[in-house]
Amino acid sequence: MAMLQLKNIDVIFNWGTVNETQVFDNFNLDIEKGQFVSVVGSNGSGKTTLLNLVAGNLEPTSGEILLEGKSILNLAEYERSHFIGRVFQDPGKGTSPSMTILENMALADNKGQTFGLQRGVNRKRLDFYRSQLEQLELGLEDKLNVKVGALSGGQRQALSLLICTLTPIQLLILDEHTAALDPKTSETIMELTNKLIQEKGLTTLMVTHNLRYAVEYGNRLLMMNKGEAVIDAQDAEKDKLEINDLVQVFSEISIELGN
């Protein structure tokens, strides 16, 4: 059974007004367990809408969304967080800047449990946090008591990734998560992302504007246009894809749209 299924999804914004726009018309998508899907496409192609639908920021006009065969449509965004982790474009969104690295790790560690009056930071977990932070190879394990607000964008994004995947999740959503970083940091974060995904065998949905990342990473590639997947290549087929192929389709689409 597919890990994530979107069935007959319609999304219409401003329904019944002059500004009515249909983003999805009977859109279907199945993502298998362990698949790492990269989604590319121009602005307005429906990539972000897709993520918002899955994460729970947006309700479809009609259709069904299933995670491991169970409908998640009636769950609020925070309830879906039990199963779905999300890393945003803005590195500030995944962490609490006024709290220390240690406190951020402790919060993440407690996800899915009650937040009662127990001590917030469990000292017995320090070694575990350190070993997790070591994987990032940024030396954050020696800065446990530094406030996250004092870290660079790249460090914060790496920490966001770790926090998001610290407790088991069924689906990881990457929302242009390297777009706000400089090219070198972006590269580091992408490699780190790939490493974490492989290690934990995470099913992943990644939206990116970087065609090279889409080609290099993951085992499935979707190119979206006007709410449809104009390219959907998996495994061997995907391996054959090159940036130039994508660029060609991309420019054809753009010409069509008159850009």
Binding site: S98, F115, G120, G149
Partner: protein, 307 residues
């Protein structure tokens, strides 16, 4: 010299009592990043409840506790207005504050109620164990202990799991969502605690001054904010002391400045004007210091260093 001691004692007594309210404002304004005006209503709410309870012979400590609980319920209302009915933060507070005016009048049944003769925490129970020679210091000693107790209680709470979630929601609500918790509920909890503190402070003031006045809440939010901001501006260099300590000290400084102005012969009619000027000075110097130190991140007008 005696006059000076008397004035200082008065300033400290008032400073510590209002510091508890300021700690409540610190929770809403600084930790939650929520400008909560309900405080103007919950402070006298605590006083009204206490006045009625102690006049009815209820243990004055129990009265304080009940005041805290009812204040927290009022904060809960503000939170529900904001989170459930999607009313803007400022307006939610104004609505609760306005409604509480009538609530307070209906509890006390009059706009000015003397509690003279009723037992208070200042003249009964544990405080009477102090030797007679310290009798004139009883009030100060008790409010000092109470303010410190509430400060340490808050310090402790903010390091618990629940408290850490509270700090996270003011900082980055999305993180709370990602932790599979409803950020709205966490905000409501924070507002309840903040207003519990305000009502508790009102309960103590009522017992100390031996009357309830329906107007006693007017300007509380300004006083609370001024204490928070003055404290943080003046002591921000001392990174070893906690923000909650700065708030308590800020409250005393604020009361000291007002007292100084009045003793220098300012017309009491200008009291509110002096309050506003002091507040402005604190805000401006805070922003000025931020700029000078090249601090980029300004959050709710106060740069974040610690929770």
């Amino acid at each position: 010299m005696d006059v000076f001691i008397e004035i200082s004692k008065g300033v400290l007594e008032q400073g510590f009592i209002y510091a508890i309210m300021a700690l409540g404002v610190y929770i809403s304004y600084h930790v939650l990043d929520f400008p909560d005006l309900s405080v103007d209503g919950t402070f006298p709410l605590g006083a009204a409840i206490t006045a009625m309870l102690i006049l009815g012979g209820v243990n004055p400590w129990l009265a304080c506790l009940l005041a805290f609980i009812v204040g927290a319920l009022a904060g809960l209302v503000t939170g529900l207005l904001h989170v459930k009915l999607k009313i803007r933060d400022l307006l939610s507070g104004i609505l609760t504050m306005t409604a509480l005016w009538s609530v307070n009048l209906s509890i006390a049944k009059t706009s000015l109620l003397s509690t003279y003769g009723a037992k208070t925490i200042f003249d009964s129970g544990i405080i009477m164990l102090l030797p007679e020679s310290l009798a004139s210091w009883r009030t100060l000693i008790l409010v000092l202990i109470l303010a410190l107790f509430m400060k340490f209680l808050l310090d402790w709470y903010l390091t618990t799991k629940s408290g850490m979630l509270l700090r996270a929601v003011g900082d980055n609500p999305q993180l709370v969502t990602s932790l599979a918790k409803n950020p709205g509920y966490v905000k409501i909890l924070g507002l309840a605690i903040g207003n519990g503190f305000a009502a508790f402070s009102g309960a103590i003031l009522c017992q100390q001054q031996k009357f309830f006045d329906v107007n006693m809440g007017t300007g509380m939010i300004v006083m609370g904010l001024a204490s928070v901001i003055i404290g943080m501006t003046v002591f921000k260099k001392l990174s070893i002391i906690k923000y909650t300590t700065m708030v308590v000290l800020g409250s005393i400084l604020y009361k000291g400045a007002i007292s100084l102005a009045l003793n220098l012969g300012f017309n009491p009619n200008y009291l509110k004007l002096i309050m506003a000027v002091l507040f402005t000075l604190a805000l401006v110097s805070n922003n000025f210091l931020d700029k000078k130190e090249g601090r980029g991140k300004v959050h709710g007008h106060v740069a974040i260093e610690e929770y």
